[in-house]
């Protein structure tokens, strides 16, 4: 298998089948969340639809979330007079049903039931308010950072990614971000990769990724991104936080590839059945020298 074939294999492994159970579950859960919001905000008329990586076609199995955007009309105060109130009221609507974690502009939903407590629902709700009736521009509340709100446009973001021609590289970049603990904001990483591959859309995946990592390694301080939905949004503070890790892990990754190949970066493709895997796990158990028993404080 060539390196590019391997990377395409990795991508295939990371793809959630449209008719697969995982996708059906997330769509069903998305519908539940939508109903909760519609019932709670029955006096308003929010637009609730899918955004994020599902809409962009950049989902990866290792870390996938369905963004449910919940945008309120400009002149409708029933959901809240301010963006902060809209954000908090949306949180209140969801709290009886889920563990809700605040993200900068979104609300991440985790399971609340006893046996599955803390497991991801793979749904992030993004509350906002339209700037006007036509443009699709919205204001989102920022729960952290200096600015309390930002202006953006979901359709422009989706178009920017879909039209980039480099979605495979974006997906592998996201996988790298997760697998190696880089912790860069996905949104920033996407924009960086798309920007760096503008002139390399037809290059092989290996060349595309190598190029991106070389720039991260050698020019992290000069990296720059612009929000395609709003050039007035200053993404520098978020990018500044990511620079050291992007550079460090890119360096390590390029060395890994040189010394050990691409499998050292993304892992082997697993093909064994459940029984085969079980047998190997028990073989691993048999050679443990110092067994330990887990505990729970209670």
């Amino acid at each position: 298998m060539t390196d590019d074939e391997y990377l395409h294999h990795v991508l295939k492994d990371q793809t959630l089948a449209t008719d697969g159970q995982e996708m059906k579950d997330i769509v069903a859960r998305g519908a539940e969340v939508q109903k909760i919001l519609e019932d709670h905000f029955s006096d308003c008329t929010p637009t609730i639809k899918d955004g994020g990586s599902k809409a962009k076609g950049t989902m990866i199995r290792d870390s996938y979330d369905l963004d449910k955007i919940c945008y309120f009309p400009r002149d409708d105060d029933d959901a809240g007079g301010t963006l902060k109130e809209i954000y908090e009221n949306t949180e209140k609507a969801l709290t009886p049903h889920y563990i809700v974690q605040r993200k900068p502009s979104a609300l991440r939903l985790l399971m609340k039931q006893e046996v599955s407590r803390g497991l991801p629902t793979h749904i992030d709700v993004v509350p906002g308010r339209y700037v006007d009736g036509d443009s699709g521009d919205v204001y989102l509340f920022q729960s952290s950072g200096e600015k309390q709100h930002l202006k953006t446009n979901l359709e422009k973001h989706i178009k920017h990614v879909v039209d980039s021609g480099v979605r495979d590289a974006v997906r592998l970049g996201k996988l790298w971000n997760v697998r190696h603990g880089v912790n860069a904001k996905t949104f920033i990483l996407e924009l960086l990769i798309i920007g760096l591959l503008k002139e390399k859309k037809d290059a092989a995946l290996t060349d595309q990724l190598t190029h991106v990592w070389k720039v991260f390694r050698d020019n992290a301080d000069d990296l720059y991104v612009e929000d395609p939905a709003n050039s007035g949004n200053d993404l520098t503070p978020i990018l500044d936080l990511a620079r050291p890790n992007l550079s460090m892990i890119a360096r390590s990754t390029l060395t890994l590839i040189e010394n050990s190949g691409w499998e050292a970066v993304f892992g082997k493709i697993v093909t064994e059945t459940g029984d085969e895997k079980k047998a190997k796990l028990w073989a691993a158990v048999s050679v443990v020298e110092k067994p330990t028993k887990p505990w729970f404080p209670g």
């Binding site: 407590r117 390590s252 190997k280 028993k293």
Partner: protein, 232 residues
Amino acid sequence: MVPRVRRPWYQKRPELLTQVQEDVRTFCTTLHLFTEDNVVWVRGTFPVKHEDDDLDHYALEIRFPEEYPDFLPVVREVGGRIPWTADAHNPEKGACLFLPEEKSEVFPEGSSFLDFLRGPIHNFFLGQSLVALGDRWPFGEHEHGVTAIAAFYQNLFDTKDVQVVGRLLVALAKDQIRGHLDCPCGSGKRVRHCHLTILLNAKKKVSPRMATESIQRWIQLSKLRGDDGLRA
């Protein structure tokens, strides 16, 4: 008076940080060490391995405490595979790899971070992978909460009497065992004619600091359970 600024462990002992870095690289290629806001983290993908085979993997975040290596790193699974439940031995704040009282056996002084990765962390996630496939915990599991702590000390002091266990544990939390005093078990005998050997042997496994922590944990967990802690 200028307040004393405590230096983080990796500044006090930079050679230890270098060793941790080396240990991470030795263990696998997908975990990395980061220093952010004066805290050392190891993050990335932890492989469950057998020989050269990666059998499974988990997204982990490992946080090194200020007092490392006196206190062990806290391990959290962040990939959303393991619920925050008692059966999974996975409270929200971090995985319970083993009973803290077993630290001197499981992770004796002088152990390296590599030993920690290959030992307790690997054992835990190896177990999780088997449980996810419907099998049992391969090395067994401790009872939850104070029951396990009590069982540990019942075994250590060779008695089922929880009241005696409690009193001996308090004695263990002191720096010295004084043979001429009355034995804390309540027998009326002097320590040297009663539980001295047991206490001295126990001291080899459990430091006064650990014994003190055990007492605090016992009290805290008993309060959560809603009793006075004298029932194991």
